[in-house]
Structures are given as structure tokens and as C-alpha cells.
């Protein structure tokens, strides 16, 4: 059956343009192999020995576990199906059953590590995060953690059970981080793992965003907290979310998250607005979920009222304007 399918599809060659440094060594080692897990138009997820790899169109930007490729042919229409084998000889990644080959030689190396902005004034961080939050609240969808942005921005809003759970956890995490209590912070975060709709559940996107916010503002506990969450997440959430959390645990994030964080913190206002709008379009709810985490993480430790507001959102579900 597979044989006939292979002969029915013409062989395809892709060229890798960028490979994440986090997976470079693994994928360029000869003799490696894996299995295709999920196939989408712009990306294919592969279960490799060491974790999840993603082969994605260059237009998706850098991914911490990613190999960006050209040309942008629809990856779900060339014979790659879940379950087929993938192998690497170091120079080329192949999917024999679909006659697909990705040439790795010549690809640039891309760093997934979040850049760190030191010396940002507390006032700036709060101001920018609040501006971004207000914009998000105006545009946010009514799914995922969208309603929570409205609540946090001070609109009268019905926050929903997911939003309340998120607000509760965030409030507790912030408090625990403030007091330097890592274990408390990790246990406060754990109810969010695997929680909510989406292929990457809202709670996980929120935690990735939170870790990103802590990382970019050089929070002293960023690394330890994120690594703790990543460890706790094993087996409790979807394969893709687990992979993102794993990389977040090493303070490795996708290019678009890095770009958004930098734009929000240091860009001119127009750039901040664009970044918020762009982020809200990620996935179905991943964008807004991640954004909430990011904007809270940016303010961790410097915004005295934030915890209160989160607790208010968590408490009664309706927030007075």
C-alpha cells in the first residue's frame, strides 16, 4: 500500500533555510530517525528520539525545535501522513514513503534563546504592558483567555471559568515569585498544565508566555521556574504543548514570541500595536493566551496592584469598571 502511494507522488526536495540551535546537533547526526506525528499545511511535527521536531515553512519564522524550509509547498498534500518514518543521514532529512527530502546542508543556524533586556525601568515595563493589555482587550476574541484580558484591562466582563482559573494561578505564581518560593510557584502553575481548548491548551500557552515575559525582563527566577514547569508538564499535556514548554524551560522561544516581546517593551507605539494585533492572530487562541502570560510576566515583581487585579478576576467573575 505504502509502496504504491510512494510511486503516486512525485519526489520533492526542500531546502532547509534555518535550523534551531537547540536541535541542530541531533538532526545533523547521521543515523537519526523518527516518526511523523502530525501533518499540517505549513508544518509537520516529527517525534524524534530526543523530542519533537517541526519542519515548517520559512514564513512561520524560527521555532525552538524547528527546521525552516523552502519552497512553501503545502506539506499536507505531498504524501506525508502520520506514522511514516523519517530518517536523517546528517546531510538530508528524508521521508521515504512520500519521496520527500529536506536538504540540511547550507542551512543557517538560528538561536531560539530569548534576548534579555536589562535595565528597563519598572515604570516603563508597567506602562507598556498595560497599553498592550488595553489593546488586546479591545481586540481579543471571546475564546481562550480573551475574556480575561478584558477583565484585567478593567472592562466589565464575564471572565469564564478558564479565565478565573488562569487569574487565580497567575496571582499565586506572582506572589510566590515575589517571595522567592520556587516550589510554591511551580505548584501554583500546575493546574494550568493541559487546561483549556486548542491543540496547545490555553493554560500551556499562558505558561510559555509567562516564562517569556520573565525571561526577557531578566527575572532572577525565570530559568528555574520555567524548568520546573517543564518537568511537571511531562505526560500531562499534548505533544506539541509539551515540546513548547520543554523549550520554554530552557528559555527558548519561537521567533514570533521574541519579536513580540521586544516590540512591546522597546518599540515605538506603532510597533507595539502591530505586535499585539499580530499576536492575537496566532492559532485559534494561542495568541491571546500567550499574550496574557507575556504581559503578566513582564510586570512580575514591579507591579504592586497586578496581583490584586488578578485575584479580583479570579474571585467573583465580574469586575467593576
Amino acid at each position: 500500500m505504502t509502496q504504491t502511494a510512494a510511486r503516486a507522488f512525485p519526489p520533492r526536495r526542500f531546502t532547509a533555510t534555518r535550523i534551531s540551535q537547540a536541535i541542530d546537533g541531533e538532526v545533523r547526526a547521521p543515523g537519526g530517525s523518527g516518526t511523523v506525528e502530525g501533518v499540517h499545511r505549513h508544518a509537520v511535527n516529527i517525534r524524534w528520539r530526543t523530542g519533537l521536531l517541526t519542519v515548517a515553512h520559512e514564513s512561520m519564522g524560527g521555532l525552538p525545535n524547528g527546521i525552516a524550509v523552502d519552497p512553501p509547498i503545502a506539506l499536507d498534500q505531498i504524501g506525508i501522513v502520520p506514522g511514516v518514518r523519517v530518517e536523517s543521514d546528517g546531510a538530508t532529512l528524508r521521508v521515504p514513503a512520500a519521496s520527500v527530502a529536506v536538504l540540511l546542508v547550507g542551512a543557517a543556524s538560528w538561536s531560539p534563546t530569548m534576548p534579555v533586556l536589562r535595565g528597563l525601568a519598572a515604570g516603563t515595563r508597567i506602562e507598556r504592558a498595560e497599553l498592550a493589555l488595553a489593546l488586546a482587550a479591545d481586540q481579543a476574541p471571546r475564546v481562550g483567555l480573551g475574556p480575561l484580558t478584558a477583565g484585567l484591562a478593567g472592562h466589565r466582563a464575564s471572565i469564564g471559568s478558564l479565565g478565573r482559573a488562569a487569574a487565580r494561578s497567575l496571582a499565586e505564581v506572582l506572589e510566590a515569585l515575589w517571595h522567592g518560593r520556587l516550589e510554591r510557584a511551580a505548584s501554583a502553575a500546575s493546574p494550568l498544565i493541559g487546561l483549556g481548548p486548542g491543540a496547545t491548551p490555553s493554560g500551556d500557552d499562558l505558561l510559555v508566555g509567562l516564562a517569556a515575559g520573565l525571561a526577557v525582563t531578566d527575572h532572577p527566577l525565570a530559568g528555574a521556574f520555567a524548568a520546573g514547569v517543564a518537568r511537571d508538564a511531562a505526560g500531562l499535556t499534548t505533544s506539541v504543548a509539551e515540546s513548547y514548554l520543554h523549550h520554554a524551560g530552557r528559555l527558548e522561544f519561537s521567533e514570533r514570541v521574541q519579536t513580540a516581546a521586544l516590540a512591546i517593551l522597546t518599540g515605538p507605539e506603532a510597533e507595539l500595536r502591530d505586535a499585539v494585533s499580530a499576536a492575537l492572530a496566532w492559532g485559534a487562541t494561542s495568541g491571546v493566551d500567550l499574550l496574557v502570560g507575556l504581559l503578566v510576566g513582564i510586570q512580575a515583581g514591579v507591579a504592586p496592584r497586578l496581583g490584586e487585579r488578578l485575584r479580583a478576576c479570579a474571585g467573583d467573575g465580574e469586575v467593576a469598571a
Binding site: 499540517h40 502520520p82 493546574p191 487546561l195 481548548p197 491543540a199 505526560g235 499535556t237 499534548t238 485559534a284
Partner: protein
């Protein structure tokens, strides 16, 4: 008796946008009360359980499996929802093939590909092709509303026999009116929903009875049209009997009303036999039929549509409903304004059954001979509608005839029906005013009187609005009656007075 069910899709590696799309579609399916679509992480499974949708969920489901958990009205609705989710999960390759061209189906088979759940076909094609379309629809398990006429009786019999075998309704041919589950089909009115079910071989008869039920404060569960020929000998009342059976079995129906012109005697007997065996009260209006035989069958006879509506309303609501308002006009006064020789009623009808009812009322009031001398015309009849639209849609022919009547020195009364409702003219009353005024002028010029009497068949919720239409007519000096029977009666009394005046003069 709602059910909670889940279906787990293993290794469902889809992206979030697809999942969201599937979720929103499943939530909106008929019969689905609540639905959730999430990946089976421990956190999400806890939420599903908290939401009361977790009972029976496979404990082996893992974080990369997806679950559709729902509460549905019944097993069938849940199954259908899961099937839909499964087919969406399988992907939309077929959709891609149709992209780029918004294709309008031209045949039933093409249409069913687009609307797989289609359960009713409305057919208003030319009669030559109508039977084939109806046959195709029945074979696909759809009920049929067959507006077309000029369908051979052999085809009607075949279609109805097939319908009975399949448990499907064949409403027609020549069926203008029905209301199924509150949805108007053809020329129908916006009537209150309630517990009176009707089966009728006459369109405007159904319209009149349903509107009057609404006026009496009762409501309609179903109004099944069966087409004008159903109670002829050859067709044998197939659909009237099927409809009666359905309504007797229907939980939402307490009272059944049967409407038809006098059926062939063998057919009447069969229908009354079924009525007598019914476990619910049955009101029978055979428009001039024998009240005694109906009563003997244990059914409630009604001579007019108003009587049928009033009886049914009473049985449905309990007690005696408030009678309709009687007309304000005085027959004697109207007759006084007439000149010598004005003794005729010109009945210019758009509804065939209403014209028939008028004839029956007049026969009862004036006696057979005098009634026969009146000119009650159904302008919707074939001879008038060849090559032109039906008078309920196009008022031009009626306007002409109204004006003509004004010039006729023998005409004392113009008797009209104004039928409101869906598919009818947007302003039937207003459309006739110029002709009515012209008729009056003509009569005045001839030093004659002229009484214009009308009833408006409609409800306040009809697109045209009952009150507004009545006001337009009243403003033009038209004498209004609350039902067609009353209008006919008033017209009859006027000419009766006029005739007596002649005698005394």
C-alpha cells in the same frame, strides 16, 4: 430524556483552528444541548467531568487524543453529531474540489449533495414535470409539497400510494397551503402555534380556518394540505386519511379539523369511519355536506369555516370561545340605497374555497333558485389563470371585474375576499381601492347604489398586517365582516331586503 455521550478520537493531531471550527459546528447541530471539544489532558478531563459531560468517558484517553463530549436530546442526535465530527476530522478534500465557483444545484440529486438532511421538497414546476420531481423526492425520503396542478390523476394516485408506503406526506397536486412545524408552505398565514391540527383539501379553506382559530385565541399544530382532488373517488382520500392518522398520533395535537368540498360518497364514508375511530375530537367541514352523517360518526359537523374554527377552538381551549364581532352594517340600510332592478351579488373571489363557501351560505339563506341567480366567481379558476398569474398575487383581473360590476345596473353588491399571508400580494386591499372607487363612481353616475362587502382573511402577524388592511378597506367605505361566511350572509341579506322592497313597492 437527554443523554451524555463522548467520542474519543485517538492521536488527533490537528491544529487549533480546525478544532475550533469543528467545535463550533458541533455545538450548533440540532439536538445537541451542550458540547465540548478538548484534548484529553488530565486538566481538561477534570473540567469535562465537572461540566457533567464525563460519565462513561474512556479512562484510557491520553493527552494526544481528542474528545467530543456532549449532552444531546437523544441517542440519534448524539450519533449524528459524532458522525459529523468524524467526517470533519477526516478532512475536507471534497470541499476543495468545489472551490471557486458558487454552484447552484439544478437537480434534486445535486441539491441533496449540498443539503444532505433535506426532508421536504416544495415543487411548483409546470405540471408536466411535477410528478417526476415528486417521485424523485419521495424516493429520497422527503415529504412533498406539490403546488403544481395539471398533474394527471394516475400520477397523483401513484405518488400518494408511494407516500403512504413510505410514511411520507404528499401534499398536492394543486395544494396551495400548508403549515408544518410552524413553517409556512405556499400561501399560508402567520398563525399562533397551538393544539389544533388540520387536514384540508382546499387552500383558502385552510387559510380561513387557521386565521379564525388565531382570532379565537387558539393555535395550530400542523396544517396539512392534500390538494383539491384528494377526496375524489379515484384518489380515495389517501392523504386525508394519512394526515388524519398522523394528527391522531401527534402528541402536540388535541383537536383535528378536516376540510374539503363534499367528497365522493365512498370516500366520505371512509374518512368518517376513521374519524369515528379517532381518540381525539374531529371537526368536519365538508362545505355543504350532510351534518347528520358526520354527527353519526361521532364527529363535529361545521357548515362554514367560521363554525369549524369556532368549534375547534372551543374543544381545544375548553368552553365556548368569544364569538367574532358581527358586522356593523345594517342590511336594510344598505338595501335602501339601491335603485330598482339592483338585485344581484357579484362575488369576485381570489380563493376558490371561499367562493364555494359563499355559494353554500347563500343557498342556505336565499334558497337554491335565488342563490343560483347570483354571480359568485372564483377568479383563481383555470379559465381565468391561463397565461396570467393567480389573483392572490396579481390584482389586475379582479380590479377589471370590480369596475365592470360597477357599471352593471343589475349588481347590488360586490362581494370580495382579501387574503393576506406569505406569498400573497404585499397590499391586496390597497391594490383594489382604485377599482372599488371607480365602481362606486360608475354606480353613482348611473344613479344607483352599490354595496361593497368584504372579509379579510389574515392575522395581525401576517406580512401585510390584518388591522392595516382592514383600515384601508374601511376608509374606502367597504363593509367588513369578520369571516367570509358572515360577509356572504350580509351580502345575501342585502339582496333579500332589496327583493322584498321590490315586492312591496
Amino acid at each position: 430524556m437527554s443523554v451524555v455521550r463522548q467520542r474519543v478520537f485517538r492521536n488527533a493531531y490537528r491544529d487549533s483552528v480546525e478544532l475550533m471550527r469543528i467545535a463550533s459546528e458541533i455545538e450548533r447541530l440540532p439536538g445537541v444541548i451542550r458540547a465540548g471539544l478538548v484534548m484529553c489532558t488530565p486538566a481538561n478531563l477534570a473540567i469535562v467531568a465537572e461540566a457533567g459531560l464525563g460519565k462513561g468517558l474512556d479512562p484510557g484517553a491520553g493527552p494526544n487524543d481528542m474528545v467530543v463530549a456532549l449532552a444531546a436530546n437523544d441517542e440519534a442526535a448524539a450519533e449524528a453529531a459524532f458522525e459529523r465530527a468524524a467526517s470533519l476530522m477526516r478532512g475536507a478534500a471534497a470541499e476543495a474540489a468545489g472551490e471557486g465557483q458558487r454552484f447552484v444545484p439544478t437537480t434534486i440529486s445535486e441539491a441533496v449533495a449540498e443539503l444532505p438532511e433535506a426532508n421536504l421538497a416544495l415543487i411548483s414546476t409546470p405540471g408536466t414535470y411535477a410528478a417526476a420531481e415528486a417521485l424523485k423526492a419521495l424516493k429520497r425520503g422527503m415529504h412533498v409539497f406539490l403546488f403544481s396542478d395539471n398533474v394527471p390523476v394516475e400520477d397523483e394516485i401513484e405518488l400518494k400510494q408511494l407516500g403512504v408506503r413510505k410514511g411520507l406526506l404528499v401534499m398536492g397536486p394543486d395544494c396551495g397551503t400548508a403549515i408544518l412545524d410552524g413553517v409556512p408552505l405556499g400561501f399560508a398565514n402567520a398563525v399562533r402555534r397551538g393544539k389544533v391540527g388540520l387536514v384540508g383539501a382546499s387552500g383558502t379553506g385552510l387559510q380561513q380556518v387557521t386565521c379564525l382559530l388565531d382570532a379565537f385565541g387558539a393555535g395550530v399544530s400542523q396544517a396539512i394540505g392534500v390538494g383539491g382532488r384528494d377526496l375524489h373517488e379515484e384518489v380515495g382520500g389517501l392523504m386525508m386519511l394519512a394526515g388524519l392518522e398522523r394528527l391522531v398520533a401527534d402528541q402536540e395535537t388535541d383537536v383535528v379539523v378536516l376540510i374539503s368540498k363534499p367528497p365522493a360518497p365512498s370516500v366520505a364514508a371512509r374518512v368518517l369511519e376513521a374519524a369515528s375511530a379517532a381518540s381525539k375530537p374531529v371537526v368536519v367541514n365538508f362545505l355543504g355536506g350532510d351534518a347528520e352523517t358526520i354527527r353519526a360518526a361521532g364527529a363535529h359537523p361545521a357548515t362554514t369555516f367560521e363554525e369549524a374554527a369556532q368549534t375547534a377552538a372551543g374543544l381545544s381551549l375548553g368552553g365556548t370561545p368569544t364569538p367574532l364581532e358581527d358586522y356593523a352594517a345594517e342590511p336594510g340600510e344598505l338595501a335602501a340605497g339601491l335603485a330598482a332592478g339592483q338585485e344581484r351579488i357579484a362575488g369576485l373571489y381570489s380563493g376558490g374555497s371561499l367562493a364555494s363557501e359563499a355559494k353554500v351560505v347563500l343557498k342556505g339563506l336565499l334558497g337554491a333558485d335565488a342563490a343560483a341567480g347570483q354571480s359568485i366567481v372564483d377568479l383563481g379558476d383555470d379559465e381565468y389563470t391561463v397565461g396570467r398569474p393567480h389573483p392572490m398575487i396579481d390584482p389586475r383581473l379582479r380590479s377589471e371585474k370590480i369596475e365592470e360590476a360597477g357599471y352593471d345596473p343589475l349588481v347590488a353588491v360586490i362581494l370580495l375576499d382579501i387574503v393576506l399571508g406569505y406569498a400573497s400580494h404585499p397590499d391586496p386591499a390597497g391594490a383594489l381601492i382604485p377599482a372599488i372607487e371607480a365602481a362606486r363612481s360608475a354606480a353613482a353616475a348611473g344613479v344607483r347604489g352599490l354595496a361593497v362587502i368584504a372579509s379579510v382573511c389574515g392575522t395581525p402577524n401576517d406580512p401585510q398586517g390584518l388591522a392595516g388592511q382592514r383600515a384601508i378597506l374601511a376608509d374606502a367605505g367597504v363593509h367588513l365582516a369578520a369571516s367570509n361566511a358572515r360577509a356572504a350572509r350580509l351580502a345575501g341579506l342585502v339582496v333579500q331586503h332589496a327583493a322584498m322592497r321590490e315586492v312591496h313597492a
